[in-house]
Symmetry: C2
């Protein structure tokens, strides 16, 4: 985002001032970015500001082209990238929609634990604990907060086919999830990220995970109903919303007796 604001730097047909406000020398132009990237940033801003909410239809390519005074092809390329990053979903003949976690399709985007046999089953959740506390140093660092800032802590067990399989501990920035209560969490059906999205206006866009093998300690063994010492997958996740702002730290312990973590490399 450099030159462009109202009048974008048109190039060919309309022989407007072209490169416009940039400081003459093209080779040295600092932080030049192509038009479609600027359009992409503008659309992302509208997503972030809530102008178009998850699940809603965004304006058509023709409309956006008119609004930004660029060609449809340029808008198209911007939306192509947003679609590749799963921020929006295109549907031929219908339009482009803001991505949402309220879909069967989106359920397994962030949960890579698959059953060794048979189809993925919906998880049964049991919330063990919800409390407010002050961020430990490590959590604060990951969430870009200060040590001691208020955070919400959640502990829960997820079961598949009645077998306790995942023990999760979550930390959320207190400022973003003010009204979050145990009741709300327990009564809510569907994926937790759906609740975060509709109740708190926070959309999880991407995440990074660090995976290790660990031994179940006494507490984990009890929560999952297994022997202490059983090998477990430790999955540390940091989730990000628009603008790469971290908004969730999660540590999961996965029992991989009947399940495995599945990953595609390419």
């Amino acid at each position: 985002m450099t030159s462009m604001t109202a009048v974008p730097p048109h190039v060919t047909h309309p022989p407007v001032s072209a490169a416009g406000a940039s400081p003459a020398v093209p080779g040295n132009s600092p932080t030049f970015s192509p038009l479609y990237q600027q359009i992409k940033a503008l659309i992302t801003q509208s997503l972030q500001s809530g102008e178009w909410k998850p699940g809603e239809l965004i304006p058509s390519e023709v409309e956006l082209a008119a609004r930004f005074k660029v060609s449809q092809g340029t808008v198209r390329k911007a939306i192509d990238e947003l679609s590749a990053e799963n921020l929006v979903v295109r549907r031929q003949g219908k339009g482009t929609f803001v991505a949402t976690h309220h879909e069967a399709r989106a359920q397994f985007r962030f949960l890579r634990l698959m059953p060794d046999e048979g189809e993925p089953q919906p998880a049964e959740n049991r919330v063990l604990d919800v409390k407010r506390l002050r961020a430990p140093a490590e959590v604060a660092r990951l969430l870009d907060l200060r040590t001691g800032d208020p955070v919400i802590f959640i502990k829960r067990v997820q079961s598949f086919d009645g077998i306790a399989t995942i023990l999760d501990e979550l930390w959320l920035p207190g400022a973003l999830f003010k009204g979050l209560t145990t009741e709300r969490l327990v009564e809510y059906k569907g994926p937790m990220y759906g609740l975060f999205e509709t109740e708190f206006g926070t959309s999880m866009i991407r995440a990074t995970e660090r995976i290790r093998a660990v031994s179940a300690d006494a507490a984990a063994a009890e929560a999952l109903g297994i022997a202490a010492g059983t090998p477990l997958l430790s999955v540390e996740r940091v989730s990000y919303t628009y603008g790469d702002r971290p908004v969730e730290v999660r540590r999961g312990l996965y029992l991989t007796a009947r399940h495995h973590y599945e990953n595609e490399l390419s």
Copy 2:
């Protein structure tokens, strides 16, 4: 790939027979595929056949457009997808190159184990065993062979900073890796996939991994110099070459005391 062979189904300006050989009804046209997908398939064939080898420059977009009698934009879209799938690498001003495993850039594409502290280090390899044997049922199934078909078995340990960290077992189809000897494997510097690529003409394109937590048995403990029962990451990989043909089964045991498996979700 349906209608098109010599004369592609041009659409606009040259008012040739358009949809051509397809069976009249457009809505029902069986397995229609867009032009750029057909071009992409043709380019992939040339990659697979070895017309352009890993690391080499492929013809320019203009040349390919002329060869296939389509516009440059159509070739561009085909190459865009091949680039997104890491089959080729574009370099502005230079051209488009066939992807190769002989690059620093490509080293960590298939190895997601990262040090907890500091920068990724190159691995030191120690080959423990190389032998020819008959494919066990499970390996045969994964490699799309028959049980008992000849396979090559490799066992090795990888160390980082002098610390044994990965115990690998590999199975390769014997038919594809005929001349593979212990000596060749030991003396070869650089990534194994580089050797497979240049010596045996087999390029690894993508892979799937299944990850579990396990306890080190006596053999693994000895090979890695750790206590039996230590939790290890079990990583089962199946690698594929062009046309989604499986060409490697690998089972790695990762020590995650000072390293972690890193994954991006989006």
